[in-house]
């Protein structure tokens, strides 16, 4: 690469006793894409926040185009040409695209906004990088992928020469992610320099020129993408060899749950269309699909938060009509909700409270909560499921995503449920946590639990599921055996092409 546009040298940052960044040095060339790889808590976001002036480093400094960047000043970072695309977008849903982009770009005391030239500039950038937007759309009406586009455009509008993206694909579907990366490569070709933060090995290998690995606040390795492998990166990132577990052969037991022609209509649209599936004890049924195709509703249906419009649900051989949440709990259906922060846990409440919420009657005496046994129960989950970073009485919000997910898994699995509905169980987790979650799911399968695994991760489904059905536009494909398919065929199934595989879709 040619001259360095960005040099970070010797940056350290301490939060309390935690050394989040330990003497990190890093450079970025013009037109280069560098991936900052690391597990959650490795210090990636801290480093980028220092770069962008959100935090003051304890020591070390940042140089942009050969000029020292004053620390702790976002405005200075913007002026120096650094643009930040946050993971949780810094956008206002009630304002228009143009307003979001133009905020802070003009003197606060000018008598009128220069929306004309502003719009022209936005459209020119949008044209140049192929990032299509409607400048007058209300931001909240856009899809997540489009909102991210606005976030990128906002950085480019500020004349960013260096673009920093914090886990840009965390919120995107696979297709949106692919599109994003082709856009990023195009930007690099046009002379922009990019840093993206990630813990996904596939996208790092596919997109980056150079990979910088952080672990425990230290820079542990730097590799050219062409000269490394996923396995090596995974080991560098975790610090030991991590292998995701794969299911072993087994014979499933009796059918415990069956859906026959179930349709769910929401707001006059059939969101699930005459779906059929059956789930047997001791097996994992994978439901694969790009998110937004009805999987959320499917999980809700089985958890008791959505109602059938027609069709039958058969649970342990008996028709059950509609399930309520209490029914589902009572019947021994464990649930891993798709969005653990919104539906899986109540952030401001203690771990023990989150552990016993759905079975409070079991932890109360004379109408009062039996704190002692509830805290004991939470403690048992914490030790049995290796939840780190909190005691039963600490707030669950303080746990990392992986540990929160282990706790949610634990509160379901510790009671040996007969059915487990796991929606996107590994989404957003780092490699170590993914392996742990997968291992627990397989353990439940060995113990005879029937698992419905809803996922959009091909690898995850191939590794865990015995049988696979694709969900597309609210329809379910007929099941295929995991041994009989490869990623290509699964990809086709996810695109809705299953009829031509010779299996008629049973309607």
């Amino acid at each position: 690469m040619s001259e360095a546009v960005l040099e970070i040298s010797g940056v350290s940052k301490r939060f309390g006793t935690n050394l989040a960044n330990d003497n990190i040095s890093l450079s970025l060339g013009k037109g280069e894409i560098v991936a900052l790889l690391g597990e959650n808590g490795a210090g990636k976001t801290t480093l980028m926040s220092i770069l962008f002036g959100h935090y003051m480093p304890d020591s070390g400094h940042v140089r942009v185009m050969g000029q020292d960047l004053p620390p702790g000043k976002p405005r200075a970072a913007i002026r120096a040409g650094i643009g930040m695309v946050h993971q949780h977008f810094s956008l206002a849903p009630n304002l228009t695209v143009l307003e979001n982009v133009m905020t802070g770009t003009e003197s606060l005391w000018s008598v009128a906004s220069n929306t004309g030239p502003g719009r022209a500039k936005l459209m020119a950038i949008s044209e140049r990088f192929g990032l299509k937007v409607n400048p007058d759309a209300r931001l909240g009406d856009l899809s997540v992928g489009e909102q991210q586009r606005v976030e990128i455009l906002k950085a480019l509008y500020n004349d960013a020469r260096i673009l920093v993206l914090d886990e840009p694909t965390a919120v995107l579907t696979n297709i949106e992610a692919e599109k994003l990366f082709s856009t990023l490569k195009d930007m690099a070709r046009q002379g922009l320099s990019l840093i993206f933060i990630s813990h996904k090995l596939d996208e790092v290998m596919a997109t980056a020129d150079r990979v910088v690995v952080l672990r425990g606040g230290k820079l542990v390795a730097e590799r050219k993408a062409a000269e490394t492998s996923k396995a090596e990166l995974a080991e560098l990132m975790v610090g030991r060899a991590v292998k995701r577990p794969v299911r072993e052969a087994s014979t499933p037991g009796e059918t415990v749950l069956e859906a026959v022609g179930v349709t769910v209509r929401v707001d006059d649209v059939d969101r699930l269309k005459a779906i059929d599936f059956h789930l047997r004890a001791g097996e994992v049924l994978g439901i694969i699909g790009v998110s937004g195709n009805g999987q959320t509703l499917l999980a809700q249906l089985l958890s008791g938060t959505a109602k059938r419009t027609s069709g039958d649900l058969v649970l342990f051989g008996h028709g059950v009509g509609d399930l309520s949440v209490a029914d589902a709990v009572h019947a021994g259906i464990g649930r891993i909700p798709e969005d653990r922060n919104k539906e899986g846990a109540i952030g401001e409440m203690a771990i023990w409270e989150n552990a016993v919420l759905e079975r409070l009657s079991g932890y109360s005496r004379h109408g009062l909560v039996d704190r002692k046994s509830a805290i004991d129960f939470a403690g048992r989950i914490i030790s049995a499921f290796d939840v780190r970073g909190g005691s039963p009485t600490s707030r669950i919000r303080l746990l990392s995503g992986g540990n929160m997910q282990k706790l949610i898994l634990g509160r379901n699995l510790i009671e040996h449920p007969r059915i487990l509905v796991a929606a996107q169980p590994a989404r957003g987790l780092d490699e170590g946590a993914v392996a742990a979650v997968h291992e627990r799911i397989l353990e439940a399968r060995r113990a005879g639990c029937a698992v419905l695994l809803i996922s959009e991760d091909l690898e995850e489904v191939m590794a865990l599921a015995d049988r696979i059905q694709a969900i597309v536009g609210g329809r379910l494909s007929p099941p295929v055996k995991a041994e009989d398919v490869d990623t290509r065929r699964l990809g086709l199934m996810m695109a809705g092409e299953w009829e031509q595989e010779g299996v008629a879709h049973a309607v």
């Binding site: 810094s90 956008l91 009630n94 606060l108 005391w109 000018s110 906004s113 906002k154």
Partner: protein, 314 residues
């Protein structure tokens, strides 16, 4: 039926509507400005009371009427600053802080009034603003006496409404205020200091509220008594929601409420005691609740309203 038509066709009704609307316009704009920046200001009722008192007191002690309004605005700004310290810097509950400001400002008004003005059988008065006929326009039949023969603060209120709509919707400052109320983190990331923006908005908004209160003692009436704001502040809070946080709709909302109020006053007289007058007093509030229920369903609340902003926290 004829009585209704007579009422609606009288220029007096429409002149009264503008007069009744003036404090509501100012108060609503003030509350709206605070809320757009992300701060709910329930101090409004007390701030209006204090504005009514201190503006009147200044004039009673020899200041001219405009100075009276200015004194009210400054006093309002001081209470706004207090509310901002509590809610923006300290990040306390905006409800509780606002109610505290209202209780404090209301009682303090009465205390200062009692301290400065001796108890008298009839309350002391000042010479209030006089209507100014706008040359040309006030000669129009019906419209002239209805709309163009008002006291100066009424014209001022309408001008401020137009100005506020322009500032909030069309200028970079307005965009910064809206961004602070929608997503202060985004504002910060774009180099705007959301705390400073909120301070400014709350102080300026509170000044407007106090001017709205001063209108009552310096234009609508000519003396001060402690209960004179009579819940107008709370009506303003509701009008902000009714207006979907848009200044031009706030103007319309205030006029609509004032119309209900002016109308019921005249209806009372027209029906001459056939129906208990309390029913009429109720009308504007009942209609407002109905209008609010219809309008507020579509309203877009500033997303960061009532959320304290702390740097570096998500």
């Amino acid at each position: 039926m004829n009585a209704l038509v007579d009422i609606l066709a009288s220029a007096g009704l429409w002149a009264a509507v503008l007069r009744i609307a003036t404090p509501l316009i100012l108060g609503t704009l003030g509350a709206l400005l605070c809320e757009r920046s992300g701060v709910l200001n329930l101090g409004i009722e007390g701030i209006m009371t204090f504005g009514a008192m201190i503006g009147w007191l200044a004039v009673y002690n020899g200041a001219d009427l405009w100075t009276g309004l200015l004194v009210a605005a400054l006093a309002g700004g001081v209470f706004g600053f207090l509310h901002a310290v509590l809610t923006v810097t300290l990040g306390l509950s905006q409800h509780v802080s606002g109610l505290g400001v209202t209780l404090f400002a209301s009682s303090f008004s009465y205390y200062v009034f009692r301290l400065m003005v001796p108890v008298a059988g009839t309350p002391p008065t000042v010479e209030p603003f006089q209507p100014i006929a706008i040359p040309g326009l006030s000669d129009l039949p019906f419209f002239g006496p209805a709309f163009f023969n008002q006291t100066p603060p009424t014209y001022l209120a309408i001008l401020i409404a137009i100005l506020m709509a322009y500032i909030i919707l069309r200028t970079p400052l307005g965009l910064a205020i809206r961004m602070a109320g929608e997503n202060p983190h985004a504002a910060e990331a774009q180099g705007i200091n959301p705390m400073a923006v909120r301070y400014g908005a709350v102080i300026a908004g509170s000044a407007l509220m106090a001017v709205g209160g001063a209108f009552l003692t310096l234009s609508a009436f000519n003396s001060f008594f402690p209960t004179m704001v009579q819940g107008r502040g709370w009506i303003c809070i509701a009008l902000v929601v009714f207006a979907s946080w848009r200044p031009e709709r706030a103007l319309l909302g205030a006029l609509l409420f004032a119309f209900f109020d002016g109308f019921q006053l005249r209806l009372q007289t027209a029906l001459n005691g056939a129906v208990p007058y309390q029913i009429f007093l109720m009308i504007p509030y009942v209609l407002s609740i109905a209008a609010l229920a219809v309008m507020a369903r579509r309203a877009r609340v500033p997303q960061a309203l009532m959320q304290p902003y702390r740097r570096g926290e998500r």
